[in-house]
Chain length 334, copies 2
Amino acid sequence: MSIAKKPTIYDVARRAGVSITTVSRMLNTPDKVNSETREKVLVAIDALSFVPKAEARARAMQHIERIGVISPFFTAPSFIQRLRGVAATLSTKNYELVIYTVDSNDHLQGYLSSLPLTGNLDGLIILSLSVDDSQVRRLIDHGLPTVLIEYPHPKLNCVEIDDAEGGYMATSYLLGKGHRRIAFLGDTDLPEYSIHPVSLRLRGFRRALKEARIKLPDTFVRLAPYSQDQTRKVAKELLNLPEPPTAIFAATDFQALGVLKAARQLGFRVPEQLAVIGFDDLDIAEYVDLTTISQHLDESGRLAVELLLSQIESPSRPPRHVKLPLTLIERQTV
Amino acid sequence: MSIAKKPTIYDVARRAGVSITTVSRMLNTPDKVNSETREKVLVAIDALSFVPKAEARARAMQHIERIGVISPFFTAPSFIQRLRGVAATLSTKNYELVIYTVDSNDHLQGYLSSLPLTGNLDGLIILSLSVDDSQVRRLIDHGLPTVLIEYPHPKLNCVEIDDAEGGYMATSYLLGKGHRRIAFLGDTDLPEYSIHPVSLRLRGFRRALKEARIKLPDTFVRLAPYSQDQTRKVAKELLNLPEPPTAIFAATDFQALGVLKAARQLGFRVPEQLAVIGFDDLDIAEYVDLTTISQHLDESGRLAVELLLSQIESPSRPPRHVKLPLTLIERQTV
DNA sequence: TGTTAAACTGAAAGTGCTTTCAGTTCTTCT
DNA sequence: AGAAGAACTGAAAGCACTTTCAGTTTAACA
């Protein structure tokens, strides 16, 4: 063994008979180099067992091309669909996507305090999680561009959803179809700290009924844990009431599915005997012909990435808040 | 207020009224700097809350364990469910999860050549993508522990699915229920390079029929692009045949959904007039009561992570191949 | 007071890599 | 065959620091 000098791209370039530029390109944007050249370089790299020095790279690159997403542990399909929008947009941009899933507030806390410091993120997207003022301060102080989805904050970029309006829309639609006995089925997965989207949807629901001067029996507002079984159980209770509702507004599509199944099992015909409207417009909604409020989940992810990138480019830009329009998707369950 | 740029030693030097050299020395060999100067520099550093960039990054990079997942651009729900298994398992392990989505073979090629070098990865999971020998060689040469899901390779750890067997199981089940006119509906999303899982499922299907001495009309094997519309269209063609099948084996749950919808639209009662069996056992399958072959998608992700971690711990261990058992889930569509 | 060595300091030359920009080659279309 | 473009490639200019080396100061001593 001779003097073990670490090979650099210069060595690789010389050996491969190309310029260092080409070697670098081969490493970073391989699709922009001819496959023959690529092969040559690869051979040289392997022969020298060359490893690019991370530190030098970091220096030369003004940004690291990594963006992080903090998401609740993704069992909920809506998170995934948002994430898909993020991934789709990012994949064309040559950014690395790092996923941090959190299952508790503590966990989130932890990420929020360490992530800005380690400094190897160009930007951060926080999905369906609420952050408090002090955490926001830290993010801003450390200059980590951030965008929030679903739980807005005045000092940061946000993609907001007008949940109350959505609840109002759904309810008005049901009202317009002549329903007067309308029930609400939401979930109980309440984050203790901030306003839960489902609560806002309920608020919109209440407002619509109030404006239509329809009194709402207490028994018509039900919350069930976010699971199929529980939802089905509660839906059945609703349908077994002496005077059951003629329509149910489920706060999420996922729960609408539970309602639909309960209805089927109890022999209610949809939409003739029971109308069901959901909220989200998950992929599944289309398969099961669920009428729902679309909140353009994929789009929200896309938008978040765009906000983030533009913030990364011009860090001094004031934060933007974008509210995605909600759309009523008429299908077969109302 | 906006603190845009991170400070560099130039900023510190200017502020302290010294040269960058001095700042650097102050940082690295403080004892070689006059204590007054030292004080000045220190003040400037604090004022700007300066952190040497590259160093911070290098440090951060060293201590964080990262594992990467290369996945086809995830529109298919099955990828997502596998990914979920990966994320779930990793979240307890204090690893960073980096996602690379690819949309073409070139793209994959690119990642495979650069990731082992610049990726800074401790391990790699390749999801539903086939890699050729030379790429495998490189992964091994560079000592990047890797596990493959769905497309196996002898030299690497793999989580395999016995697709042919699954096709056989599904078909036998249908046969057992008395069906004799059984059609197959697969997708056409064939990767040019290797054996497509759907082809294997078809193979199992054919074998089961052959063993039962049932002749299979050519019209009963259909391929549709992986989309709801297309699938529905093809399913309808099948059902509009003069002698339509009494059962359809859909190569994926996603397509089974299309079949179900087509059946509903054409007024076929399921399972009385048409039995449908899928493959995958997506979450949705349960909601729609689809009878299907479960390939334990979440579990495959979990397993992959475990194989990977154990390989990271003992790099010299020979590659393992694990075949997850398939399970027939009886629900309401057969 | 003049020397001289010790203690500092800053300009400039690396460090290993990325990226811009202009030039070269290869296609394709007319 | 020629023109217009697309696809590649390399020279050179960074990036954020570290290090060398040639000065300046300062201190100390005769």
